[in-house]
Symmetry: C2
Subunit: 208 residues, 2 copies
């Protein structure tokens, strides 16, 4: 009956930012943080921060001290599921694909990139300790490692076909960098990272 209190989407969407901030403080050697200072640095209202933290924190904040940073980091990570390990593949080993293979951050968030795939023979090989295989070996790999998640970094015009290949191989969620709308069967999720949109919305806000 007494369900785990469900956390509003809006709170969830702020958690990564809290995490980033808290880790920065931890690196500086700070042990406690008050909701007020957190709110000020992050441009949120103190009440909002307090409500968010009260939903996520395992231990309540201590009046006069605030929240223990180490503990809070661990709580947020647990909430976000970063303690679980997830396997993922990268589709497309061009410039962006290789940058992603080299990116340090994934493993940190519980994501293991098991391999990359590319359909052009000259891209096959090794980069940053990861192997790029021909697309023919995708299905086999996905099955063997039970991969559900893929990062799509092929050129715009190849994106839909590559996405179809991923879905056929059993992929259930796709993080796409191609600025194209992708059609997928029900049950498959697509999330778009559109670098240009992010940058545009940022510079846009300058002129307001």
């Amino acid at each position: 009956m007494n369900e785990e209190k469900t956390i509003p989407k809006s709170t969830l969407s702020r958690l990564p930012a809290y995490l980033r901030y808290l880790k920065g403080e931890r690196e500086k050697g700070v042990a406690f943080v008050s909701s007020a200072s957190l709110a000020e640095d992050m441009d949120l209202s103190a009440v909002c921060v307090r409500k968010d933290l009260s939903l996520v924190a395992s231990a309540p904040g201590k009046p006069r001290f605030g929240f223990e940073i180490k503990e809070l980091i661990s709580d947020i990570e647990r909430q976000l599921g970063y303690h679980r390990r997830t396997n993922a593949v990268v589709m497309g080993a061009g410039g962006l694909g290789r940058a992603i293979l080299a990116y340090e951050g994934f493993s940190y968030y519980g994501i293991d990139i098991v391999a990359a795939f590319d359909c052009s023979p000259e891209k096959i090989g090794s980069f940053s300790g990861k192997t790029v295989y021909p697309v023919e070996r995708l299905k086999e790999t996905v099955e063997r490692f039970q991969v559900k998640t893929a990062v799509l970094t092929v050129p715009r015009l190849a994106a839909q076909a590559a996405c179809d290949t991923l879905v056929a191989a059993g992929i259930k969620s796709v993080l796409s960098f191609a600025p194209v709308y992708l059609t997928v069967p029900e049950g498959v999720r697509v999330k778009y990272v559109d670098l240009a949109v992010s940058l545009a919305s940022l510079s846009e806000s300058l002129s307001e």
Copy 2:
């Protein structure tokens, strides 16, 4: 008195997705789209779509046909300010930085990357038709091209220092790929693109 109707943030945040979808349809040769079919394909409620479009569209949709795609695309682009041109610089010419220099999408969204900068001499040179300069030349370039926006693609530990350099040169908004919280003076905006967080939240949703 009669202000331009202000568009809710929630609507604004959906516009890029509409745009992506509409451009896909246009490429297929479709000329009109109804709010209902748009809603279904994009997993939104039809009413929500209609409300969004009514705020953005210059011409109302035609009963029995729906909205004219070409016109709608143009309206959304205008709303998002993609017709304006914005200059930007890239800080850090490693793997990710170069991938961004090569990325086709920016120009399309009204963003011109005028140059990249790196502090290590061996990175200086030309990539994808863009020039990588030593950091010493940053300020001069920012002033000459009136650049307000920068993309930050340096390694984690170099991010804060690089950000400070950007701010000192006059940059007002930063799109950071480094998974670190950045401290900036008031009036400077930072937006984080955390690839790992995006991927993690996506694969997370699978297990729900």
